[in-house]
Symmetry: C2
Subunit: 224 residues, 2 copies
DNA sequence: CGGTGCATTGACAGACCTCAAGACGAGTGG
DNA sequence: CCACTCGTCTTGAGGTCTGTCAATGCACCG
Protein backbone atom coordinates (compact mmCIF):
# COMPACT_ATOMS: atom_id res chain seq x y z
CA UNK A 1 0.00 0.00 0.00
CA UNK A 2 1.14 3.51 -0.73
CA UNK A 3 4.28 2.00 -2.12
CA UNK A 4 5.57 4.92 -4.09
CA UNK A 5 9.12 6.00 -3.56
CA UNK A 6 9.60 8.77 -1.05
CA UNK A 7 12.92 9.82 -2.47
CA UNK A 8 11.27 12.60 -4.35
CA UNK A 9 8.93 13.82 -1.66
CA UNK A 10 10.80 17.07 -1.46
CA UNK A 11 9.59 18.37 -4.76
CA UNK A 12 5.99 17.80 -3.71
CA UNK A 13 6.04 20.13 -0.79
CA UNK A 14 3.95 23.25 -1.17
CA UNK A 15 6.23 26.07 -2.21
CA UNK A 16 4.54 28.75 -0.16
CA UNK A 17 4.74 27.10 3.26
CA UNK A 18 8.25 25.68 3.30
CA UNK A 19 11.60 26.98 4.40
CA UNK A 20 14.96 25.53 5.30
CA UNK A 21 16.29 25.68 8.84
CA UNK A 22 19.65 24.82 10.37
CA UNK A 23 19.65 23.30 13.82
CA UNK A 24 22.72 23.08 16.00
CA UNK A 25 23.66 19.90 17.82
CA UNK A 26 21.40 19.42 20.87
CA UNK A 27 19.01 22.15 19.74
CA UNK A 28 15.34 21.35 19.52
CA UNK A 29 13.26 21.11 16.38
CA UNK A 30 10.12 21.03 18.45
CA UNK A 31 8.84 20.53 21.97
CA UNK A 32 6.24 18.13 23.32
CA UNK A 33 3.08 20.08 24.12
CA UNK A 34 3.71 22.98 21.76
CA UNK A 35 1.17 23.84 19.11
CA UNK A 36 1.76 21.63 16.10
CA UNK A 37 2.31 24.24 13.42
CA UNK A 38 4.85 22.60 11.15
CA UNK A 39 6.35 19.37 9.99
CA UNK A 40 10.07 18.92 9.46
CA UNK A 41 11.81 16.80 6.89
CA UNK A 42 15.40 16.07 7.78
CA UNK A 43 17.59 17.02 4.85
CA UNK A 44 20.89 16.29 6.48
CA UNK A 45 21.92 15.27 9.97
CA UNK A 46 19.95 13.38 12.61
CA UNK A 47 17.54 13.94 15.44
CA UNK A 48 16.08 11.94 18.27
CA UNK A 49 12.44 11.86 19.27
CA UNK A 50 11.67 11.58 22.94
CA UNK A 51 9.06 12.02 25.61
CA UNK A 52 9.47 12.99 29.21
CA UNK A 53 7.47 11.31 31.97
CA UNK A 54 5.94 13.08 34.92
CA UNK A 55 8.76 11.82 37.12
CA UNK A 56 11.33 13.47 34.86
CA UNK A 57 12.53 10.32 33.17
CA UNK A 58 13.13 10.65 29.49
CA UNK A 59 12.38 7.93 26.98
CA UNK A 60 13.95 8.19 23.57
CA UNK A 61 11.48 6.80 21.07
CA UNK A 62 13.79 6.66 18.12
CA UNK A 63 16.39 8.25 15.92
CA UNK A 64 15.58 9.89 12.63
CA UNK A 65 17.93 10.66 9.79
CA UNK A 66 17.82 12.00 6.28
CA UNK A 67 14.43 11.78 4.65
CA UNK A 68 12.43 11.20 7.81
CA UNK A 69 9.54 13.40 8.82
CA UNK A 70 9.50 14.78 12.33
CA UNK A 71 6.46 16.34 13.94
CA UNK A 72 3.69 14.02 12.80
CA UNK A 73 0.93 14.36 15.33
CA UNK A 74 -2.66 13.26 15.59
CA UNK A 75 -3.78 16.17 17.72
CA UNK A 76 -3.36 19.89 17.82
CA UNK A 77 -0.13 19.65 19.77
CA UNK A 78 3.14 17.80 19.35
CA UNK A 79 3.19 14.65 21.42
CA UNK A 80 6.96 14.23 21.39
CA UNK A 81 10.00 16.45 21.47
CA UNK A 82 12.69 16.28 18.82
CA UNK A 83 16.28 17.36 19.28
CA UNK A 84 19.18 17.31 16.85
CA UNK A 85 21.98 14.93 17.78
CA UNK A 86 24.35 16.44 15.26
CA UNK A 87 24.33 19.64 13.21
CA UNK A 88 21.20 19.23 11.16
CA UNK A 89 19.46 20.90 8.25
CA UNK A 90 15.73 20.44 7.86
CA UNK A 91 12.90 21.55 5.66
CA UNK A 92 10.10 23.17 7.58
CA UNK A 93 6.62 22.70 6.12
CA UNK A 94 3.70 24.54 7.66
CA UNK A 95 0.70 22.36 8.37
CA UNK A 96 -1.69 24.90 6.92
CA UNK A 97 0.07 24.91 3.58
CA UNK A 98 0.46 21.16 3.70
CA UNK A 99 -3.23 20.52 4.21
CA UNK A 100 -4.05 22.79 1.31
CA UNK A 101 -1.52 20.98 -0.84
CA UNK A 102 -2.97 17.59 0.05
CA UNK A 103 -6.34 18.69 -1.19
CA UNK A 104 -4.81 19.76 -4.47
CA UNK A 105 -2.56 16.80 -5.07
CA UNK A 106 -3.61 13.33 -3.94
CA UNK A 107 -0.18 11.96 -4.81
CA UNK A 108 1.21 14.00 -1.95
CA UNK A 109 -1.29 12.38 0.39
CA UNK A 110 -0.20 8.95 -0.69
CA UNK A 111 3.41 9.80 -0.15
CA UNK A 112 2.67 11.17 3.27
CA UNK A 113 0.79 8.02 4.13
CA UNK A 114 3.74 6.02 3.01
CA UNK A 115 6.09 7.95 5.28
CA UNK A 116 3.65 7.59 8.12
CA UNK A 117 3.39 3.81 7.79
CA UNK A 118 7.17 3.60 7.63
CA UNK A 119 7.28 5.52 10.88
CA UNK A 120 4.90 2.94 12.28
CA UNK A 121 7.18 0.13 11.17
CA UNK A 122 10.10 1.71 12.97
CA UNK A 123 8.13 2.05 16.18
CA UNK A 124 7.06 -1.57 15.96
CA UNK A 125 10.58 -2.71 15.30
CA UNK A 126 11.61 -0.98 18.48
CA UNK A 127 8.76 -2.59 20.36
CA UNK A 128 10.08 -5.98 19.33
CA UNK A 129 13.51 -5.08 20.63
CA UNK A 130 12.26 -3.79 23.96
CA UNK A 131 9.83 -6.66 24.29
CA UNK A 132 12.14 -9.62 24.02
CA UNK A 133 15.80 -8.77 23.84
CA UNK A 134 18.36 -8.84 26.60
CA UNK A 135 20.53 -5.83 27.33
CA UNK A 136 23.28 -7.20 25.08
CA UNK A 137 20.85 -7.75 22.23
CA UNK A 138 19.41 -4.27 22.55
CA UNK A 139 22.81 -2.62 22.50
CA UNK A 140 23.82 -4.71 19.50
CA UNK A 141 20.65 -3.70 17.65
CA UNK A 142 21.24 -0.03 18.40
CA UNK A 143 24.84 -0.20 17.20
CA UNK A 144 23.69 -1.78 13.95
CA UNK A 145 21.09 0.94 13.52
CA UNK A 146 23.71 3.60 14.13
CA UNK A 147 26.11 1.89 11.75
CA UNK A 148 23.47 2.00 9.06
CA UNK A 149 22.85 5.72 9.43
CA UNK A 150 26.50 6.57 9.79
CA UNK A 151 26.76 4.82 6.48
CA UNK A 152 30.01 2.97 5.94
CA UNK A 153 30.30 -0.79 6.04
CA UNK A 154 33.39 -1.14 8.20
CA UNK A 155 33.83 2.52 8.90
CA UNK A 156 33.93 3.59 12.51
CA UNK A 157 30.66 4.75 14.04
CA UNK A 158 30.86 8.23 15.47
CA UNK A 159 28.40 7.79 18.31
CA UNK A 160 25.93 10.67 18.38
CA UNK A 161 24.58 9.43 21.72
CA UNK A 162 26.01 9.31 25.21
CA UNK A 163 25.70 6.13 27.24
CA UNK A 164 22.84 7.73 29.12
CA UNK A 165 21.00 8.48 25.89
CA UNK A 166 21.62 4.98 24.59
CA UNK A 167 20.14 3.70 27.82
CA UNK A 168 17.11 5.96 27.56
CA UNK A 169 16.67 4.68 24.05
CA UNK A 170 16.83 1.01 25.04
CA UNK A 171 15.13 0.98 28.42
CA UNK A 172 18.43 0.37 30.20
CA UNK A 173 20.66 2.24 32.60
CA UNK A 174 23.85 3.82 31.37
CA UNK A 175 25.87 1.36 33.43
CA UNK A 176 24.23 -1.61 31.76
CA UNK A 177 24.89 -0.08 28.36
CA UNK A 178 28.52 0.47 29.29
CA UNK A 179 28.89 -3.09 30.55
CA UNK A 180 27.28 -4.48 27.41
CA UNK A 181 29.67 -2.49 25.23
CA UNK A 182 32.58 -3.79 27.27
CA UNK A 183 31.38 -7.37 26.85
CA UNK A 184 31.15 -6.87 23.09
CA UNK A 185 34.66 -5.45 23.08
CA UNK A 186 36.06 -8.28 25.20
CA UNK A 187 34.43 -10.78 22.84
CA UNK A 188 36.23 -9.15 19.93
CA UNK A 189 33.01 -8.09 18.22
CA UNK A 190 33.58 -4.37 18.42
CA UNK A 191 36.42 -1.97 19.08
CA UNK A 192 36.20 1.09 21.27
CA UNK A 193 39.34 2.97 20.20
CA UNK A 194 38.34 6.13 21.98
CA UNK A 195 35.31 7.68 23.60
CA UNK A 196 32.49 8.23 21.15
CA UNK A 197 33.79 5.85 18.50
CA UNK A 198 32.80 2.27 17.80
CA UNK A 199 34.17 -0.05 15.15
CA UNK A 200 32.31 -3.19 14.25
CA UNK A 201 34.82 -6.00 13.81
CA UNK A 202 32.44 -8.93 13.45
CA UNK A 203 29.15 -7.83 12.00
CA UNK A 204 27.78 -11.37 11.67
CA UNK A 205 28.10 -12.07 15.37
CA UNK A 206 26.74 -8.66 16.24
CA UNK A 207 23.69 -9.35 14.10
CA UNK A 208 23.27 -12.76 15.68
CA UNK A 209 23.23 -11.16 19.10
CA UNK A 210 20.83 -8.45 17.97
CA UNK A 211 18.51 -11.09 16.58
CA UNK A 212 18.54 -12.93 19.86
CA UNK A 213 20.50 -15.97 18.71
CA UNK A 214 22.36 -16.68 21.91
CA UNK A 215 24.74 -14.17 23.39
CA UNK A 216 27.25 -14.68 20.59
CA UNK A 217 30.18 -14.31 22.93
CA UNK A 218 31.17 -17.95 22.75
CA UNK A 219 31.64 -19.54 19.34
CA UNK A 220 28.80 -18.29 17.23
CA UNK A 221 27.22 -20.86 14.98
CA UNK A 222 26.90 -18.22 12.30
CA UNK A 223 30.67 -17.88 12.14
CA UNK A 224 31.62 -21.52 12.43
CA UNK B 1 -2.61 18.12 12.11
CA UNK B 2 -5.22 16.10 10.26
CA UNK B 3 -7.47 16.71 13.21
CA UNK B 4 -10.78 15.85 11.67
CA UNK B 5 -12.97 13.42 13.50
CA UNK B 6 -12.63 9.81 12.43
CA UNK B 7 -16.04 8.86 13.72
CA UNK B 8 -17.46 9.14 10.27
CA UNK B 9 -14.70 7.46 8.35
CA UNK B 10 -17.01 4.64 7.41
CA UNK B 11 -19.06 6.65 5.02
CA UNK B 12 -15.93 7.69 3.18
CA UNK B 13 -14.88 4.23 2.14
CA UNK B 14 -15.14 3.50 -1.55
CA UNK B 15 -18.38 1.63 -2.15
CA UNK B 16 -17.00 -0.69 -4.76
CA UNK B 17 -14.12 -2.19 -2.81
CA UNK B 18 -15.62 -2.79 0.61
CA UNK B 19 -17.39 -5.70 2.22
CA UNK B 20 -18.19 -6.82 5.75
CA UNK B 21 -16.60 -9.89 7.25
CA UNK B 22 -17.20 -11.82 10.47
CA UNK B 23 -14.22 -13.31 12.20
CA UNK B 24 -14.47 -15.94 14.91
CA UNK B 25 -12.50 -15.69 18.13
CA UNK B 26 -8.83 -16.61 17.50
CA UNK B 27 -9.27 -16.49 13.73
CA UNK B 28 -6.90 -14.37 11.71
CA UNK B 29 -7.73 -11.21 9.81
CA UNK B 30 -4.37 -11.33 8.10
CA UNK B 31 -0.97 -12.95 8.25
CA UNK B 32 2.48 -11.40 8.37
CA UNK B 33 4.15 -11.84 5.00
CA UNK B 34 0.97 -12.19 2.97
CA UNK B 35 0.32 -9.83 0.10
CA UNK B 36 -1.23 -6.66 1.45
CA UNK B 37 -4.46 -6.57 -0.53
CA UNK B 38 -6.90 -5.05 1.93
CA UNK B 39 -7.31 -2.91 4.99
CA UNK B 40 -9.73 -3.79 7.78
CA UNK B 41 -11.70 -1.45 9.95
CA UNK B 42 -12.95 -3.09 13.10
CA UNK B 43 -16.68 -2.48 13.40
CA UNK B 44 -17.23 -4.52 16.51
CA UNK B 45 -15.04 -6.77 18.62
CA UNK B 46 -11.27 -6.68 19.07
CA UNK B 47 -8.08 -8.00 17.58
CA UNK B 48 -4.44 -8.20 18.51
CA UNK B 49 -1.53 -7.36 16.25
CA UNK B 50 1.59 -9.44 16.63
CA UNK B 51 4.82 -10.50 15.04
CA UNK B 52 6.69 -13.75 15.37
CA UNK B 53 10.47 -13.85 15.70
CA UNK B 54 12.73 -16.34 14.00
CA UNK B 55 13.06 -18.25 17.27
CA UNK B 56 9.30 -18.71 17.44
CA UNK B 57 8.66 -16.13 20.13
CA UNK B 58 5.63 -14.01 19.59
CA UNK B 59 5.42 -10.34 20.45
CA UNK B 60 2.01 -8.77 20.70
CA UNK B 61 2.32 -5.21 19.46
CA UNK B 62 -1.06 -4.01 20.56
CA UNK B 63 -4.78 -4.48 20.83
CA UNK B 64 -7.23 -2.84 18.48
CA UNK B 65 -10.91 -2.28 19.01
CA UNK B 66 -13.83 -0.60 17.31
CA UNK B 67 -12.83 2.04 14.81
CA UNK B 68 -9.21 1.01 14.44
CA UNK B 69 -7.64 0.15 11.11
CA UNK B 70 -5.74 -3.09 10.82
CA UNK B 71 -3.43 -3.90 7.95
CA UNK B 72 -1.63 -0.60 7.42
CA UNK B 73 1.63 -1.45 5.76
CA UNK B 74 4.40 0.48 4.09
CA UNK B 75 5.38 -2.29 1.73
CA UNK B 76 3.72 -4.76 -0.55
CA UNK B 77 3.21 -7.27 2.23
CA UNK B 78 1.72 -7.20 5.70
CA UNK B 79 4.38 -6.76 8.33
CA UNK B 80 2.26 -8.03 11.22
CA UNK B 81 -0.38 -10.64 11.80
CA UNK B 82 -3.77 -9.78 13.25
CA UNK B 83 -6.04 -12.21 15.08
CA UNK B 84 -9.43 -11.65 16.64
CA UNK B 85 -9.51 -12.01 20.42
CA UNK B 86 -13.30 -12.12 20.51
CA UNK B 87 -15.98 -12.58 17.86
CA UNK B 88 -15.36 -9.65 15.57
CA UNK B 89 -16.99 -7.92 12.66
CA UNK B 90 -14.83 -5.87 10.33
CA UNK B 91 -15.10 -3.86 7.16
CA UNK B 92 -12.74 -5.03 4.47
CA UNK B 93 -11.48 -2.33 2.10
CA UNK B 94 -9.41 -3.32 -0.90
CA UNK B 95 -6.24 -1.30 -1.31
CA UNK B 96 -6.83 -0.83 -5.02
CA UNK B 97 -10.21 0.77 -4.47
CA UNK B 98 -8.84 2.77 -1.56
CA UNK B 99 -6.04 4.29 -3.58
CA UNK B 100 -8.45 5.27 -6.28
CA UNK B 101 -10.74 6.83 -3.71
CA UNK B 102 -7.89 8.81 -2.19
CA UNK B 103 -7.17 10.36 -5.55
CA UNK B 104 -10.78 11.40 -5.87
CA UNK B 105 -11.34 12.68 -2.37
CA UNK B 106 -8.53 14.38 -0.48
CA UNK B 107 -10.64 14.43 2.67
CA UNK B 108 -10.31 10.67 2.81
CA UNK B 109 -6.55 11.00 2.66
CA UNK B 110 -6.58 13.38 5.58
CA UNK B 111 -8.72 11.06 7.61
CA UNK B 112 -6.46 8.15 6.82
CA UNK B 113 -3.47 10.20 7.85
CA UNK B 114 -5.23 10.96 11.08
CA UNK B 115 -5.84 7.30 11.81
CA UNK B 116 -2.26 6.52 10.94
CA UNK B 117 -0.83 9.09 13.32
CA UNK B 118 -3.13 7.81 16.05
CA UNK B 119 -1.74 4.37 15.43
CA UNK B 120 1.70 5.89 15.83
CA UNK B 121 0.70 7.40 19.15
CA UNK B 122 -0.45 4.04 20.44
CA UNK B 123 2.82 2.39 19.46
CA UNK B 124 4.76 5.13 21.18
CA UNK B 125 2.66 4.86 24.30
CA UNK B 126 3.53 1.20 24.43
CA UNK B 127 7.20 2.00 23.94
CA UNK B 128 7.05 4.22 26.99
CA UNK B 129 5.52 1.40 29.00
CA UNK B 130 8.06 -1.19 27.90
CA UNK B 131 10.90 1.29 28.30
CA UNK B 132 10.50 2.31 31.89
CA UNK B 133 7.83 0.44 33.79
CA UNK B 134 8.23 -2.46 36.16
CA UNK B 135 6.23 -5.64 35.74
CA UNK B 136 3.57 -4.38 38.14
CA UNK B 137 3.26 -1.09 36.27
CA UNK B 138 2.97 -2.81 32.92
CA UNK B 139 0.24 -5.13 34.11
CA UNK B 140 -1.61 -2.20 35.67
CA UNK B 141 -1.39 -0.26 32.41
CA UNK B 142 -2.69 -3.22 30.42
CA UNK B 143 -5.61 -3.72 32.80
CA UNK B 144 -6.55 -0.06 32.45
CA UNK B 145 -6.38 -0.34 28.68
CA UNK B 146 -8.59 -3.41 28.76
CA UNK B 147 -11.00 -1.70 31.13
CA UNK B 148 -11.32 1.15 28.69
CA UNK B 149 -12.17 -1.06 25.75
CA UNK B 150 -14.46 -3.29 27.78
CA UNK B 151 -16.16 -0.02 28.52
CA UNK B 152 -17.78 0.13 31.94
CA UNK B 153 -16.37 2.18 34.79
CA UNK B 154 -16.61 -0.37 37.57
CA UNK B 155 -17.85 -3.22 35.46
CA UNK B 156 -15.84 -6.41 35.50
CA UNK B 157 -13.28 -6.84 32.76
CA UNK B 158 -13.78 -10.01 30.76
CA UNK B 159 -10.17 -10.72 29.94
CA UNK B 160 -9.78 -11.48 26.25
CA UNK B 161 -6.16 -12.51 26.82
CA UNK B 162 -4.56 -15.43 28.58
CA UNK B 163 -1.69 -14.83 30.98
CA UNK B 164 0.67 -15.95 28.27
CA UNK B 165 -0.73 -13.40 25.83
CA UNK B 166 -0.60 -10.66 28.43
CA UNK B 167 3.03 -11.54 28.94
CA UNK B 168 3.77 -11.50 25.22
CA UNK B 169 2.12 -8.12 25.11
CA UNK B 170 4.16 -6.68 27.97
CA UNK B 171 7.53 -8.32 27.49
CA UNK B 172 7.05 -10.52 30.55
CA UNK B 173 6.62 -14.20 31.27
CA UNK B 174 3.21 -15.55 32.13
CA UNK B 175 4.39 -16.33 35.65
CA UNK B 176 5.41 -12.74 36.25
CA UNK B 177 2.04 -11.56 34.96
CA UNK B 178 0.27 -13.98 37.26
CA UNK B 179 2.33 -12.91 40.27
CA UNK B 180 1.69 -9.25 39.49
CA UNK B 181 -2.03 -9.86 39.33
CA UNK B 182 -1.86 -11.68 42.65
CA UNK B 183 -0.02 -8.77 44.22
CA UNK B 184 -2.67 -6.36 42.96
CA UNK B 185 -5.35 -8.63 44.41
CA UNK B 186 -3.61 -8.97 47.75
CA UNK B 187 -3.27 -5.19 47.89
CA UNK B 188 -7.02 -4.86 47.41
CA UNK B 189 -6.69 -3.00 44.14
CA UNK B 190 -8.37 -5.60 41.95
CA UNK B 191 -10.58 -8.64 42.39
CA UNK B 192 -10.15 -11.90 40.56
CA UNK B 193 -13.52 -13.56 41.21
CA UNK B 194 -12.94 -16.28 38.67
CA UNK B 195 -10.64 -17.11 35.83
CA UNK B 196 -10.85 -14.61 33.02
CA UNK B 197 -12.51 -11.87 35.04
CA UNK B 198 -10.97 -8.83 36.69
CA UNK B 199 -12.72 -6.16 38.73
CA UNK B 200 -10.97 -2.90 39.43
CA UNK B 201 -11.65 -1.94 43.03
CA UNK B 202 -9.32 1.04 43.36
CA UNK B 203 -8.78 2.71 40.04
CA UNK B 204 -6.79 5.62 41.47
CA UNK B 205 -4.15 3.33 42.93
CA UNK B 206 -4.07 1.24 39.79
CA UNK B 207 -3.45 4.36 37.74
CA UNK B 208 -0.75 5.49 40.14
CA UNK B 209 1.00 2.16 39.68
CA UNK B 210 0.59 2.29 35.91
CA UNK B 211 2.07 5.79 35.86
CA UNK B 212 5.05 4.60 37.83
CA UNK B 213 4.26 6.45 41.06
CA UNK B 214 5.63 3.89 43.47
CA UNK B 215 4.19 0.42 43.67
CA UNK B 216 0.95 1.66 45.18
CA UNK B 217 0.69 -1.33 47.47
CA UNK B 218 1.40 0.62 50.62
CA UNK B 219 -0.66 3.73 51.31
CA UNK B 220 -0.83 5.59 48.06
CA UNK B 221 -0.48 9.33 48.29
CA UNK B 222 -3.22 9.69 45.73
CA UNK B 223 -5.67 8.10 48.11
CA UNK B 224 -4.55 9.74 51.32
C1' DC C 1 45.85 22.86 38.36
C1' DG C 2 41.23 21.85 39.68
C1' DG C 3 36.59 21.31 37.87
C1' DT C 4 33.20 19.17 35.06
C1' DG C 5 31.01 15.72 32.37
C1' DC C 6 31.21 11.19 30.63
C1' DA C 7 32.73 6.32 30.80
C1' DT C 8 34.15 2.25 33.19
C1' DT C 9 34.07 -1.07 36.78
C1' DG C 10 32.83 -3.29 41.22
C1' DA C 11 29.68 -4.85 44.96
C1' DC C 12 25.31 -5.64 46.26
C1' DA C 13 20.27 -5.85 46.17
C1' DG C 14 16.20 -6.52 43.86
C1' DA C 15 13.49 -7.81 39.86
C1' DC C 16 12.51 -11.06 36.68
C1' DC C 17 13.10 -15.67 34.43
C1' DT C 18 13.33 -20.66 34.61
C1' DC C 19 11.99 -24.92 36.21
C1' DA C 20 8.73 -27.43 38.71
C1' DA C 21 4.63 -28.92 41.20
C1' DG C 22 -0.01 -28.54 42.13
C1' DA C 23 -4.92 -26.53 41.69
C1' DC C 24 -8.79 -25.44 39.07
C1' DG C 25 -12.26 -25.50 35.41
C1' DA C 26 -14.07 -27.10 31.02
C1' DG C 27 -14.82 -30.57 28.06
C1' DT C 28 -15.03 -35.70 26.84
C1' DG C 29 -16.03 -40.43 27.06
C1' DG C 30 -17.30 -44.28 29.77
C1' DC D 1 -22.42 -39.15 37.32
C1' DC D 2 -17.70 -39.88 37.45
C1' DA D 3 -13.05 -40.32 35.91
C1' DC D 4 -9.93 -38.50 32.82
C1' DT D 5 -7.53 -35.22 30.05
C1' DC D 6 -6.13 -30.86 28.74
C1' DG D 7 -5.16 -26.17 29.05
C1' DT D 8 -4.66 -22.51 32.08
C1' DC D 9 -3.51 -20.38 36.36
C1' DT D 10 -1.08 -20.12 40.73
C1' DT D 11 2.72 -20.56 43.73
C1' DG D 12 7.37 -21.83 45.21
C1' DA D 13 12.58 -22.21 44.94
C1' DG D 14 16.60 -20.88 42.93
C1' DG D 15 19.49 -18.63 39.45
C1' DT D 16 20.50 -14.87 36.30
C1' DC D 17 20.18 -10.38 34.79
C1' DT D 18 19.74 -5.67 35.54
C1' DG D 19 19.39 -1.53 38.60
C1' DT D 20 21.47 1.06 42.32
C1' DC D 21 25.14 3.05 44.71
C1' DA D 22 29.79 4.13 44.73
C1' DA D 23 34.62 4.84 43.39
C1' DT D 24 37.81 5.66 39.85
C1' DG D 25 39.72 7.06 35.37
C1' DC D 26 39.83 10.00 31.44
C1' DA D 27 39.34 13.98 28.32
C1' DC D 28 38.36 18.59 27.94
C1' DC D 29 38.45 23.30 29.49
C1' DG D 30 38.81 27.32 32.12
Amino acid sequence: MFTESTAGVARWWPADGTSTVDIADRSHLLHEGDDAVALYEIIDGAAMIYRTSIDGRRTILGLRTQGALVGLSSGRRYVCSAVAIEPTRARRISYAALERAIDNDPRLARRLLNVCTEELSRSRERLLILGNRTALGRVAALLLELAQSTGGAKRPILLPLTRLEMGESLGLTLETVSRSMSRLRTAGIIDLPRSGVVIIRDRARLEAIADGSGDGTSGSRLCA
